[in-house]
Symmetry: C2
Subunit: 234 residues, 2 copies
DNA sequence: GGGACGCTTCGGCTGGGGCCGAACTGTGGG
DNA sequence: CCCACAGTTCGGCCCCAGCCGAAGCGTCCC
């Protein structure tokens, strides 16, 4: 007998139904490739254990792996996967955190201010950049979202190369979890993020997806006030 | 120690990680309230078993229940839940169905043509209705989606009452799983669906979410050609 | 070649989750 | 008042998934 729709959904959900695997997947939303040992440390389990978990996730199509020498690198299978995980993580929170430490609060602040969502910008930074690009006529939202010829010229002037392989759409809208408004995703979103990271306009804050924003981020055309706000309080 | 984000996500996913529970949730996407016994029959498990599963889902916030006399009615907690399930079910399909029976094919056809997505229309019908409303200036997509004053007047003329309680947005865009284009959701989408069902313009095909479309659906302003297409092949 | 290192396989332990039948509770109807 | 019926609780069964330590495999580097 054919597998029913319910069985398929259950099989899929089962991949995330273990806290070790869920932790791994959430960590991978940063879009980078992690080694098995790194993930074992993160999830606080032994290497044999993480090895099995990664097998499950790769076999299930949630992750892809690249073997390089004696290393096993895994990453999320694609942007759609990351977006779905973001949504799930946002919808799951029945955590009624009452007393929060100062450290946790400032961490959450940094997360809300600027972070990566898989391979593009999110948080206040992501939304502000999207807004600015729209105001400057670089994006057109009349029918979904599209990049204008002016937008393409702008990318060119910045020296940003967009590789839109495998039919990935150039631009795509992605709902921001903290801002509840759309930010820019797609190949262009990824290219902008890669460019800014490569030039040190933003840098990753270790241990999470949060970003530290430097003044040079103004190169992306953001208003001075916005840049100042994004940089305040470290 | 506080529960980590990974544990929360895992706890949430665990609700769907059982094929019986997953089957139940998918059945409930039709937006109706089902009794425990009905669901037990559907999922082919005993009544004690379904009772426990429903406890899990209600406690987890995925379902809400109403007790009426000796009956226990459950339904999905809300439209967002339904939409998330739709997305998950659409992303999960690693089913490589090769040989499909004629019955299954015609069933899938009916499903793609017209169905409910929780409490609003989906499939070709949902997308066509959304397009028509947009062309006639009843919806405005310049910034997200909104209903125009002309749209409100149209609803009034049809005698459709929109109850937008608990701050549910009047209109909302929901990605159609089969058409891969947005269709109308939100309180207005629900009201249109309820109205059409109530007047017999569409009727449910038993055993699923698919709808049978009558010629009277033209009352919603759909072009003749579209109506004919939606009605063809039963 | 040999040792360090990243990862995997294997065996065995353990807990928890899903399932049912039987018995129980509570509601509704004649 | 008694029976039919919806749903629940209880006890017990079984299976599987997650975990680890020990041992094995393959790669890199000196």
């Amino acid at each position: 007998m054919a597998t029913t729709e319910g069985q398929e959904l259950a099989a899929w959900a089962r991949m995330l139904a273990d806290s070790t695997r869920a932790t791994v997947c959430l960590a991978l939303i940063d879009g980078r490739a992690w080694t098995a040992t790194e993930l074992a440390q993160l999830a606080k389990v032994s290497r044999p254990t993480i090895s099995e978990h990664l097998n499950v996730l790769v076999d299930g199509g949630l992750l892809t792996e690249v073997r390089q020498g004696r290393h096993r690198y895994v990453r999320l299978a694609g942007p759609e996967t990351a977006e779905l995980l973001e949504e799930l993580a946002a919808l799951a929170p029945r955590s009624t955190e009452v007393a929060t430490s100062l450290a946790a609060a400032s961490k959450r602040d940094a997360f809300a201010r600027a972070r990566t969502c898989y391979d593009h910008f999110a948080g206040k930074l992501g939304v502000a950049l999207t807004d600015t690009m729209t105001e400057r006529g670089l994006l057109d939202w009349s029918e979904g979202v599209a990049i204008t010829s002016k937008g393409l010229r702008w990318l060119d002037e910045l020296g940003i190369v967009v590789d839109s392989h495998r039919g990935r759409p150039a631009v795509r809208s992605c709902l921001d979890v903290t801002e509840r408004r759309p930010h820019l995703a797609g190949a262009v979103g990824a290219a902008l993020c890669r460019h800014a990271l490569g030039h040190g306009w933003v840098t990753r804050i270790p241990g999470g997806r949060a970003l530290r924003v430097s003044g040079a981020v103004a190169e992306l055309g953001l208003p001075d006030g916005t840049v100042r706000e994004l940089r305040s309080r470290v």
